[in-house]
């Protein structure tokens, strides 16, 4: 038996428009966010004179990077169909752990940092494991761990140090070398560039590559888009999702180290509320809230929009009482522009 089925006629393609390169570009998830970012950027350039300097730009980039690093992980997790509400406090858990462990036992900060990394990965694992094994939505499980961590951050800090902030660790061994990695800056002309910005770029690039060009990336899309189908064709759904939770807690740890080594001391109550900034960055960047669609560069742009808006309002010198209202309007506008651009570029209804 040989090849008996003739390939369908290729004249066929006359009916279907081959999308041009431009329109293919336009179908990417981040394109709307990019347009929104450019509009907001121009908006502040026009309205806020002090926004127009390289220094300001890099301050915005710094602010974006602190949000953006964790947001990349949160974005991946959301593409994978899950949420992590503990991602804001885990940043502080990581920092507090390192700081208090080394201070209490008087050991080198490297040891604390590594133990704290292990601890954070464990937390991510627990989040993922509970979500997968119980079938309870991640929103709830991580809300639980969010509360637990928030309470434990306070309770343990109080227990260990007697106060609700950690002691200054700048005199403990290892501070300088770790500080170089996590929280150093250098100057180009009058502009200060924080390494966190570079790390951010690195993480975004890594995540973008993983999503588009690796097997794991394929799995992430699949477990977010349709976990039942993914499981049915042999994707290790449980492992993929647990892995994503661990990525988020790894990045949380990373920013926690940055905070610790930049500020030397941490308040035990910090980080609360940031989980939403990460989610906002991801969604503004084109990540589908229900999973299965999105992209790392979009998330980075989302974080940048957030950084730009929150500082732009200050650069413009607007009444701070209205800060939140501005932020809300900007958020809605960014999302609307995002949507509009998507609609313009592709009328495909995807479902």
């Amino acid at each position: 038996m040989t090849q008996t089925v003739a390939p369908a006629p290729s004249s066929h393609s006359a009916d279907r428009v081959r999308p041009a390169l431009a329109s293919r570009l336009m179908a990417r998830p981040e394109i709307g966010a990019l347009v929104a970012a450019i509009i907001i950027f121009i908006f502040f350039l026009v309205l806020a004179p002090s926004f127009r300097s390289a220094e300001s730009f890099f301050t915005v980039l710094y602010q974006s990077s602190v949000i953006g690093i964790v947001a990349v992980g949160v974005g991946l997790l959301m593409i994978g169909g899950e949420f992590d509400l503990s991602s804001g406090v885990i940043v502080y858990t990581a920092g507090l752990f390192t700081s208090m462990f080394c201070w209490y036992y008087g050991v080198n900060l490297w040891i604390g940092a590594i133990l704290s990394l292990a601890f954070c990965l464990l937390l991510g694992f627990i989040n993922g494991y509970l979500v997968m094994k119980t079938g309870i939505p991640s929103f709830l499980i991580t809300l639980g761990t969010f509360f637990v961590l928030q309470g434990a951050n306070l309770g343990v800090t109080k227990l260990v140090t007697g106060t609700v902030s950690t002691p200054d660790i700048s005199n403990i061994d290892g501070f300088d070398s770790l500080g170089k990695i996590f929280a150093s800056s250098f100057k180009i002309g009058s502009v200060t560039i924080w390494t966190s910005v570079l790390w951010w770029i690195l993480f975004v690039a890594l995540a973008a590559w993983t999503l588009q060009r690796t097997r794991v990336g394929n799995w992430i899309f699949a477990v977010g888009g349709n976990p039942d189908s993914a499981r049915a064709v042999g994707v290790p759904v449980v492992r993929t999702k647990i892995g994503l939770f661990m990525v988020v807690s790894f990045l949380g740890w990373f920013v926690g180290m940055h905070q610790l080594f930049r500020f030397n001391t941490l308040q035990a109550g910090g980080g609360v509320g940031n989980e939403f900034l990460y989610i906002i960055a991801a969604v503004v960047g084109g990540t589908l809230l229900t999973g299965g669609f999105g992209n790392a560069i979009g998330v980075a742009i989302g974080a940048f929009i957030f950084g730009m808006t929150s500082l732009g309002i200050i650069y413009a010198g607007w009444d701070p009482n209205w800060f939140k209202a501005f932020l809300g309007v900007m958020l809605l506008l960014a999302v609307l522009v995002n949507l509009y651009v998507k609609r313009m570029s592709t009328r495909r209804k995807v479902g």
Binding site: V5, P7, W209, A222, A230, R231, V233, G234, V235, G351
Partner: protein
């Protein structure tokens, strides 16, 4: 298409050798007992057809073989060894590929990504190894063309394809990755005559390449064209279990439909 099947088929298959054996298998969903006391053999180089009314338990049966749901009773042996698949991944690693009736594809993902999902081609074994994107696109396109399906753009989300087109992608995928056992749950239901013919040819080709095939259909004609072995389920139990030699098309049709009823129908609707 034989090239595809022959290329990927396990070379160590011997016609007639049992690949999957079920003994007294049963399955309950909570209070609902969907299957009980099922004995089934899938042999290499043979097509086992499973027929039955709606809700008879056909999909449940194949979900057990493909590792999607564990069975509650009886034993399942693959290559003579008793197994209890914890996931479809394990079944796949035994060379068992399945086309599911309801859960087939991830709507938002591109056609070619769906085609290779779970069995991606990578440049290496480590997790961050790059995907061979170009190659995967080409293969997916070629395999779909062989079924007479030309998608406008292999990069379009599979959710934008028509029902039958999606079904074809799922079939092409299973055929491509089914090395030992191919399971098809009503593959021709959404397909036109032409595409149905293509699928039947694939079934025959798979059989000829030495694979064991489980073919679920409502169409006794389709079943009889390719089947070696026929099982009819009724309310979760086996109602008929015969080889091609033991049963004719007419008996099969009659058993499936209550025979007379069909004739009556034709008569009734005659105009």
């Amino acid at each position: 298409m034989t090239d595809t099947l022959a290329d990927h088929a396990d070379k160590g298959l011997h016609k007639g050798e049992p690949l999957v054996e079920m003994e007294g298998v049963g399955k309950s969903y909570g209070a609902i007992r969907a299957l009980r006391g099922i004995n089934l053999r899938v042999n290499a180089g043979e097509v086992t057809c499973v027929l039955g009314d709606n809700g008879a338990g056909k999909s449940t049966l194949i979900k057990i073989i493909s590792g999607l749901h564990p069975h509650n009773e009886g034993s399942l042996r693959v290559d003579g060894k008793e197994v209890n698949f914890a996931s479809p991944r394990e079944a796949l690693s035994h060379g068992i590929a399945t086309v599911y009736q309801d859960l087939a594809v991830v709507g938002l993902m591109e056609v070619w990504r769906n085609f290779f999902l779970g069995s991606e081609l990578t440049a290496g074994r480590y997790p961050l190894a790059g995907l061979k994107v170009k190659q995967m696109r080409e293969i997916a396109d070629t395999e779909l063309r062989k079924m007479g399906i030309v998608v406008k753009d292999i990069n379009q989300p599979i959710g934008t394809l028509s029902g039958g087109q999606r079904q074809c992608v799922a079939i092409a995928r299973a055929v491509y990755f089914g090395a030992r056992v191919l399971i098809l749950d009503e593959p021709t239901a959404a397909l036109g005559v032409k595409q149905s013919g293509v699928v039947l040819k694939y079934v025959a080709a798979a059989r000829d390449a030495g694979l064991g095939v489980v073919f679920i259909t409502h169409n006794p004609h389709h079943a009889y064209m390719v089947g070696d072995h026929f099982v009819i389920l009724k309310l979760g139990a086996t109602a008929l279990d015969k080889t091609r030699k033991e049963v004719g098309l007419d008996e099969l049709t009659q058993q499936m439909a209550g025979g007379d009823e069909l004739a009556e129908l034709s008569h009734e609707l005659k105009r």
